[in-house]
């Protein structure tokens, strides 16, 4: 051990491994180029062609699909990336819905600004709430958030200015041509959906997002590596709740009103969970797939009452047990819509990869 080892390998030195060219790391690849192209094409079609060829009713139900994508994507942020299963996100759907109507009608804000502000209000309420619900972990966090949502609903019903038990209806669009109104809501919802999905993608690729993934996988290990665990989880909770509030505002904007029973319904969270779990938890693409499936099932089975929820409940159980990575997980690897994976290629053709030393 007294012998000094040369710091860098020189050819012929017995202590060094053969020189290996540094591997080239690339992101995405052809699969994600094709997938991203398809995705872009779909968005362009939705924005430029679909509104001119389908009925107003179909446009309204597409707004619901966009809201489902937002709900799923932001719940995925919580559960898939933050490891927090909340069954109480309907609290923020409700806050968003009520905030939109109050801002648009009582304050007189333009609808688009009211929706964005509703998202901010959701975030502002989620921040103090997080200090309460973060006292619970795991499954107890799940029901604790549900209790909080119930408190939000019951308190809303007690406030006379918010219409009590019968809710509020939106009057900001009174006098607007229905075609104009539906078209506005449709394009706005589409833009918002694209922004939320892209924002989530960028967040997860950032330093903060990598820290969050580490927290989800092993909180203690992440903490010991210097990831700010509490701050990261709080950020996810606030961002996810803001997303739910945005979706709630869109839903209220599209349905022209809220009632406490429906906008604070746990079925919103049920929808988020199915969208994420069936689509594929912890991936950007999963909620997109899940939302489309949920929406199609809902549209197809709607005449039969709530049977679609029976089917979805059973499907969700089956997916968790048999294909825990969801439908997207069954496809992933073949192609992808977002360049999220890194691949390492050997640096030079024919180079032997020697066992690394000193690492």
């Amino acid at each position: 051990m007294s012998e000094a080892v040369p710091p860098t390998g020189t050819p012929g030195s017995p202590h060094t491994a053969p020189i290996v060219p540094a591997p080239v790391v690339s992101r995405g690849g052809r699969g994600s180029l094709v997938g991203g192209g398809v995705l872009l094409l779909v968005v362009v079609l939705l924005a430029g062609v679909v509104p001119y060829v389908v009925t107003l009713g179909a446009l309204s139900s597409l707004v619901m699909l966009f809201a489902l994508v937002i709900l799923g994507t932001t719940w995925n942020l919580l559960a898939g990336y933050g490891g927090m299963v909340s069954v109480g996100q309907q609290a923020y759907v409700g806050v968003g819905g009520y905030a939109l109507i109050q801002l648009a009608d009582a304050v007189g804000a333009p609808p688009w600004a009211a929706v964005l502000a509703a998202g901010l209000i959701g975030a502002a309420i989620a921040l103090p709430t997080s200090y309460l619900v973060f006292r619970l972990a795991g499954g107890y966090f799940a029901i604790g958030t549900w209790v909080v949502a119930e408190v939000f609903r019951l308190v809303t019903m007690q406030i006379d200015g918010l219409g009590g038990g019968s809710g509020l209806s939106l009057s900001a669009f009174r006098g607007t041509d229905p075609v104009e109104r539906v078209a506005f809501v449709y394009w706005f919802a589409l833009a918002l959906m694209v922004a939320v999905v892209l924002g989530t993608y960028l967040l997860m690729g950032s330093r903060v997002g990598l820290g969050l993934t580490a927290i989800r996988d092993d909180r203690v290990a992440a903490s010991s590596l210097g990831v700010a665990v509490d701050r990261g989880r709080r950020l996810v909770y606030v961002a996810g709740s803001a997303g739910a509030a945005l979706a709630g505002a869109l839903i209220a904007l599209s349905t022209l009103g809220v009632t406490p029973g429906s906008i604070y319904s746990v079925n919103w969270t049920a929808a988020m969970i199915f969208v994420v779990v069936v689509g594929g938890i912890g991936t950007i693409e999963g909620p997109l797939v899940g939302a489309v499936l949920y929406w199609v099932l809902q549209q197809a089975l709607a005449p039969l009452g709530t049977w679609y929820l029976v089917v979805l409940g059973a499907v969700a159980v089956a997916v968790v047990l048999l294909a825990p990575r969801g439908l997207w997980g069954l496809l992933a690897g073949r192609f992808q819509l977002f360049p999220t994976t890194y691949r390492a290629h050997p640096g030079a053709v024919g180079a032997m990869v020697a066992p690394k030393t000193g690492r």
Binding site: L136, G138, G144, V147, V151, V320
Partner: protein
């Protein structure tokens, strides 16, 4: 006098809540699963006994049928759904996700199935004179049915406690709860023990569901409320303490009846707020055991 009455009714109501919470506490204590289908399963038990009573069975016989059926159901659900979910969770680091999601899927499917079969109308299990019978106590009247519920709750909790403390199966169950791997090495089958625990939990939950069905108007959606109440009782009483569960039930019952005395609309809200207050002040619950591992109800 109204306040005293509210207090007495609250304590009695607490019996029902404690009975409801017993199964939730047991399942969590033994395998750390939070069963989100707890509430709707209790409502299912209420519907089953309602159907049996409507077929002409006396109520006591309906209970004698429903409780073992639910124990068997619990064994099957654990073997068929929860055990695979636990195995799923063990493979990944985000631990409790799979069992939680499975139980939520079951809850949503079952709630909507009940809605399709029985409609959303509210029902009540007919109990004849029992529903209105009361024992005079000074100027107060103690309802016979709530009193029976409270006594049953205390007996069930004491029974579960004795079972866990004194029987060989109970000891094996506690061993599995503490360390499933070590228990397996000394010849206890954790999967079987989990299933027995769930069977026991489902039996108590069925009994609780029948009492709920006798005392309140219920509908398929009532399960959500039942789940939240049971959960609040467990947290207020302190995780892993069955007697704490009884105390938690009484606290929640008192909060709701006193809240309703202040404002008839706000009973449930008052219960939620007391729960949140306990969470802020004493996150470990009102009654906590000294040990750190305190998850096992014993």
């Amino acid at each position: 006098m109204d306040w005293l009455n509210a207090g007495v009714q609250g304590v009695l109501l607490g019996g029902q809540y404690a009975l409801l919470a017993c199964g939730l506490s047991l399942i969590f204590g033994v395998m750390r699963i939070v069963n989100l289908a707890h509430g709707v399963l209790a409502v299912l038990a209420a519907y089953l006994s309602l159907v049996l009573v409507q077929q002409g069975l006396p109520l006591w016989l309906a209970i004698v049928v429903v409780v073992p059926v639910f124990a068997a159901l619990g064994y099957a659900v654990q073997r068929g759904l929860f055990n695979p979910a636990l195995a799923q969770a063990r493979g990944r680091t985000s631990g409790e996700l799979a069992p939680l999601l499975v139980s939520f899927g079951v809850a949503v499917a079952l709630t909507n199935l009940l809605q399709e079969v029985f409609s959303a109308d509210t029902r009540k299990i007919p109990t004849g004179e029992l529903a209105s019978a009361g024992l005079p106590l000074g100027q107060l009247s103690i309802g016979v049915l709530p009193l029976i519920t409270l006594i049953v709750a205390a007996v069930v909790i004491a029974g579960v406690q004795l079972f866990l403390a004194r029987t060989a199966t109970g000891r094996a169950m506690r061993a599995v709860a503490d360390d499933a791997g070590a228990a397996a090495m000394v010849g206890v089958d954790p999967k079987h023990m989990y299933a027995v625990a769930t069977a026991l939990a489902f039996a108590t939950l069925a009994l609780a569901g029948v009492f709920v069905g006798m005392s309140t108007q219920f509908s398929p959606g009532h399960g959500d409320l039942v789940l939240l109440f049971a959960f609040e009782v467990v947290i207020i009483g302190g995780l892993g303490s069955l007697w704490g569960t009884l105390a938690g039930g009484v606290v929640l019952g008192l909060a709701q009846t006193i809240g309703a005395q202040i404002d008839p609309q706000s009973g449930v809200l008052a219960g939620h707020i007391v729960f949140l207050a306990v969470l802020v002040v004493r996150p470990g619950g009102l009654i906590t055991r000294g040990t750190t591992s305190g998850s096992v109800p014993a």
